[in-house]
Amino acid sequence: MSGLRSVLFIQGVMIGFIGLAMIFPIMADWLANDDYDLPDLAAFSLSAIVSMIIGAGLAFASGATKAPLSLRDNFLISGLSWITISIFAALPLMAGNYQLSFTDAMFEVISGLTTTGATVLSNLDTAPRGLLLWRSILHWIGGIGIILMAIAILPMLSVGGMQLFRLQSSDTGDKIFAGASQIAAGITLVYSGLTLICFLSYWAMGMGAFDAINHAMATVATGGFSTRDASFGYFFDNPDIHGPLLEVSSLFMVLSALPFGLFLLALRGNISALWRDGQVRFYLAIIFLAVLALYLALLFSNIYPALDAARLAMFNGISVITGTGFAVRDYSAWGPFAAGLLFSLTFIGGCAGSASCGLKVFRFQIALKALHEFGRKLVYPHSVVTEKYNGRPITPAIYRSVLVFFFVYFTSFATIAVLLSLFHLDPITALSAAAASLACVGPGLGEMVGPSGNYASLPDGAKWVLAGAMLLGRLEFFTLLVFLTPGFWRS
C-alpha cells in the first residue's frame, strides 16, 4: 500500500500549506490594529499553528515516496484534498469573532473553496479584515486548484468527456504527469498575473486597496464572495469610484471562464489558438446572446434607464453564467422571464480548464453534435460520418461520457432540490439553491437565497446538502462518485 502513503503525504503537505496561508489573514488583522479584530487574530494564529503541526506530522509520518501514483491514488488525492482542506480552513471561522457552528463554518469554507460564493455571514462591511481576506484566499486557492485539476488530472481520468483535452493525445492512464509540473507552474503564473492586473485596475478606479485585493481574488476565481453586504452594488452606488468598474469586472470574469491552457499558448506567441478555439467562440456567442436577451427583458420592464439596464444586464448576466455570483441589484425582482433566463444560464458555466463551474460549454457542443449525427442516422441508417471537435474525432466513448455527465448532473440537481424541499423550503428557493450550488454560482432566486438574502436562515441539514452539492459540482461528480463503486476499492 505505498499508494496510500503517498496520498497521506500529499494530504499532510496540503494541510501544512493551508496553515501557512493563514499568515495573510493574521497580518491583515494585525495591520488593522483594532480591538474588535483581536479574537480573529488569535483564532487565525491558533488555527495556523494547529494546521501546520498536524500537516507536518502527517507528512513526516507517511514519508515521501518516489513510487509513481496509480490511477486510484489520483482519484483519492483529487477527492480527499478538497475535504481535508475544508476541515482545516474552517477552524478559524469557528474560533473567531463570529463563533460559527461547525455546520456554518464548513458551509462557508466549502462555498469558498469551490468558488461558489454563497455565504452565511451578514454585516460583512464591519467584519474583521482577516476573516474577509481568508474567504477571498479560499476562493483564490480553490480557483487555481480546479484549473490545475482540469488541465493535469481530469483529462487523464476521462471524467465527463475531459479526455478531449489531453495535452498529448497518446497519453493513457498511468504514465501521466510528465509535463504536468511545468504546465502547472505556467498556469499558476498566468493566474497570479491576471489577479494582479485585476487588483491594479480595481485599485486605480477608486476601490480601497483592501477591497480591491479581495475582489480581485474573488473575480479571477469566479468565486463571488464580497467584502460588502451589497456585493458590487456598494461600488455601483459609491461616488468615489470613477471609471468603468462593472465593465472591467465583467471582462475579468469572462477571462477567468476561458481555458487557461490557451492563455499559456497565447503567452508563448500563439495568440490565434485563443481565437480559433471552438469552445471560446461558442462561449462568447452564448454570453452575447444571453446578455442581449436579458437587456431586452430589462428594457421592456422599464425598471432602469437604458444605459443602466445595459450595464446591469451585462454584469449580472456574466456573473451568473460564469458562476461568479457577484450582484449589483437584486435580479430576483426583474420579473419571471429574467429570473427564468438567469436560472437556465446558471447551468452553463464556463469553458473546460477554467476557474468556472457548471456543465461547461464543450459538453453542450458535444451534445449538439451527438444530436446532429443522431438525426442524420435516423434518416440514413447506414451513413458513417465522424464529427470532430477542435480537429479531434469524437469517439462513441466521448459521446457516452458527456451524455452520462448530463444525466448525472440533472439527476443530482433534481435529487438535491427534492432533498431541500424535505426541509420545507419553498420550490423556488429549493430549485434555485440546488442549481446555484451545483454550478458554484452562489446566490439563487427568491427572498431567502437570492442576491439580497443569505444562506444563514436555512436549516442545518439543508446547508450540508448544499455543501455536498457544491463539492460534487466542482469536482465534476465522478471524481467523488467513483469512491462509491465497490470496484474502486477492490484491488
Partner: protein, 491 residues
C-alpha cells in the same frame, strides 16, 4: 423525391375513421333529455360530415395498393397523423356547446389525443354527454395509437433506444413495415378487451354506465380526462359506489403502463416473458419505492390513519408516474417534499410499448447500465465491460440514442418553462406545466394548473407552447424533429 400518395392515403383513412367515431358522441347527445345538451349533436354531425368528406377525398385521390412504406414515409405518417387528427378532432369543440376558441379547442384536442389530460373546461359535471365522451374517445384513440406506434413503428425508426424492442433482431429500416398490420390488429383487439373489462368492473362497483365508459377509456389510455371536476375524488365520496373503485383504477393504470407486446406473448401461452421482463420488474419496484417514501411523508397528513393514507398515496403516485393525471386528493397540499417528489416522478413514465408517457423506464435502466460501465472504465481504463438488457448486449448506438433522448427531453422541458415564464407565469406554474406537458401527465402544481385548477386562465400563447410540448413528448421528440431537418427532405 418522397412518394406522398401512400402517406396521404393513410392520413385520409385516419381522418375518415375519426369522422365515423364522431357518431358516438352525437348519439350520446341525442339521447339526452336536456335541450342545451341535445343541441350539441349538431356540432358532431357537421364535424363528422366534414371529416368523412375530406378523409374519403384524400383516400380516393391517392387510391392504390400500398406494398411497403419506406423510412421517410414511416416518419411522415407517424408525425403528421397526430397533427392532422388533432386539427379535425378540435372541430366539435369549436362548433359545440362551449364554442371554444380555436386555441382552446386545439389545446383540448391535443391534450386528449396525446393522453395528457390537461383541460381548459370547468363545470364538467354538467357538460353535454357527447362533449365528455368525445374527450374520452380521443384519449382512447391516442392510447391505442401510441401503443401501435411504439410496438410496430418506433423500433424500426431507432428512436431514443427503441431499437432494443425490435421483434426480429434482423429487421432494418427499409423492409420494416411488413407485419405491422397484423400486430396492430392484435394490439387493438387486446386494447378493446382490456377496456371492456375495466368498464365492467367500474360499472359493477356502482359507477353509472356513462361514467364507467368514460373512465374506462381514459384509464386504459393513461389519459386522465374525467367527467367530474373533482376527478376520481368524486367517486370516493359517492355513496352509490360499493367497492374500492380507486384500487381498480390503480390496477388498470399499472396494466396500461406495462408493455402491451408482452401481453400478446402471454396470450399465446408464453407468460414467462411478462413475469421475467426486467423493465416490468423495475417499473413495479419504482412504484413500490415511491409509494413507501410518499406514504411515510403524508402519513401524518391523514391523521395517522394508514389505510386512507395508503390508498391516496398509491393512487396519486401511480396516476402521476404513469402520466394518467387523475387525482383522488389535492396532493398540492401534501407539503413541499411530496410536491417536489411528485414533480420528479412524473418524468419517469411507464414501460416502452405501453400507453403511458414520460421518459420510460427502460431508458433509466440503459442509463444506469451506462453509468455502471462508465464507473468501471474510470477505474480500469483498459477493461472491456458490456452491459446487457433483457439478454441483449447494449451497443454504443443504444447508449447514444438513449442519452440523446434524455438531453433533448430536458432541453425541451427547460425551453418550454422559460418561454412560459416569458408569458409571465409564475415559476412554479411554468415549471410544472412544462414538465407535465412534456411528460403528458396533465395537472401541474400550484393554484392555476394544479390538480384543483385548469389551464383556462393561461394566455393563448402559453396554450400553443404547451400543445407543442405535449405532441413532442408523446411522439418521442425525434419523430417530429426529424421532419424539420433539411437532410430529411434532401435526396
Amino acid at each position: 423525391m418522397i412518394d406522398w400518395r401512400p402517406v396521404l392515403l393513410v392520413l385520409g383513412f385516419f381522418v375518415s375513421l375519426l369522422g365515423i367515431a364522431m357518431f358516438l358522441p352525437m348519439l350520446a347527445d341525442l339521447g339526452h333529455d336536456n335541450e342545451w345538451h341535445r343541441d350539441n349533436w349538431k356540432a358532431f354531425a357537421v364535424s363528422s360530415a366534414f371529416s368523412i368528406f375530406i378523409g374519403a377525398g384524400m383516400m380516393l385521390a391517392n387510391w392504390g395498393r400500398v406494398e411497403t412504406l419506406n423510412l421517410h414515409q414511416g416518419f411522415l405518417i407517424s408525425g403528421l397523423s397526430w397533427l392532422v387528427l388533432s386539427a379535425f378532432a378540435a372541430l366539435p369543440f369549436v362548433l359545440g356547446a362551449y364554442e371554444l376558441s380555436w386555441t382552446d379547442a386545439l389545446f383540448e384536442a391535443v391534450s386528449g389525443i396525446t393522453t395528457t389530460g390537461a383541460t381548459v373546461v370547468t363545470g364538467l359535471d354538467d357538460a353535454p354527454y357527447g362533449f365528455l365522451l368525445w374527450r374520452s374517445i380521443l384519449q382512447w384513440f391516442g392510447g391505442v395509437g401510441i401503443v401501435i406506434m411504439a410496438v410496430a413503428i418506433l423500433p424500426m425508426l431507432s428512436i431514443g433506444g427503441m431499437q432494443l424492442f425490435r421483434m426480429q433482431s434482423s429487421n432494418t429500416g427499409e423492409q420494416a413495415f411488413s407485419d405491422t398490420s397484423k400486430i396492430a390488429l392484435a394490439l387493438t383487439t387486446l386494447y378493446v378487451f382490456v377496456t371492456i373489462i375495466c368498464f365492467m368492473t367500474y360499472w359493477g362497483m356502482g359507477m353509472n354506465a356513462y361514467d364507467a365508459v368514460n373512465h374506462a377509456m381514459t384509464t386504459i389510455a393513461t389519459g386522465g380526462f374525467s367527467t367530474k371536476d373533482a376527478s376520481f375524488g368524486y367517486f370516493l365520496n359517492d355513496p352509490n359506489i360499493t367497492g374500492p373503485v380507486d384500487m381498480v383504477a390503480v390496477f388498470f393504470m399499472i396494466l396500461a403502463s406495462l408493455p402491451f407486446g408482452l401481453y400478446l406473448l402471454a396470450m399465446r401461452g408464453r407468460v414467462k416473458p411478462l413475469l421475467k421482463d426486467s423493465q416490468v420488474r423495475f417499473f413495479l419496484g419504482l412504484v413500490a419505492i415511491f409509494t413507501v417514501i410518499v406514504l411515510i411523508n403524508v402519513f401524518s397528513h391523514y391523521n395517522n390513519h394508514l389505510p386512507t393514507a395508503f390508498r391516496h398515496t398509491l393512487f396519486n403516485v401511480i396516476s402521476v408516474m404513469t402520466g394518467t393525471g387523475y387525482a383522488s386528493a389535492d396532493y398540492g397540499l401534501w407539503g413541499p417534499f411530496a410536491v417536489g417528489l411528485f414533480f420528479c416522478i412524473m418524468f419517469v413514465g411507464g414501460c416502452a410499448g405501453s400507453t403511458s408517457c414520460g421518459l420510460k423506464v427502460f431508458r433509466f435502466q440503459v442509463v444506469l447500465a451506462a453509468l455502471w460501465t462508465y464507473g468501471r472504465r474510470l477505474v480500469y481504463p483498459n477493461g472491456v465491460f458490456v452491459a446487457h438488457y433483457n439478454g441483449k448486449p447494449l451497443t454504443n448506438d443504444v447508449y447514444i440514442s438513449v442519452l440523446n433522448f434524455f438531453f433533448i427531453y430536458f432541453a425541451t422541458f427547460a425551453t418550454t418553462a422559460v418561454i412560459l415564464s416569458l408569458l409571465h407565469l409564475d415559476p412554479v406554474t411554468a415549471l410544472s406545466a412544462a414538465g407535465s406537458a412534456v411528460a403528458n401527465v396533465g395537472p401541474g402544481l400550484g393554484d392555476i394548473v394544479g390538480p384543483g385548477g385548469t389551464y383556462q386562465p393561461l394566455p393563448d400563447a402559453a396554450k400553443w407552447v404547451l400543445s407543442v410540448a405535449m405532441l413532442l413528448g408523446r411522439l418521442e421528440f425525434f419523430t417530429l424533429i426529424v421532419l424539420l431537418t433539411p437532410s430529411f427532405w434532401r435526396g
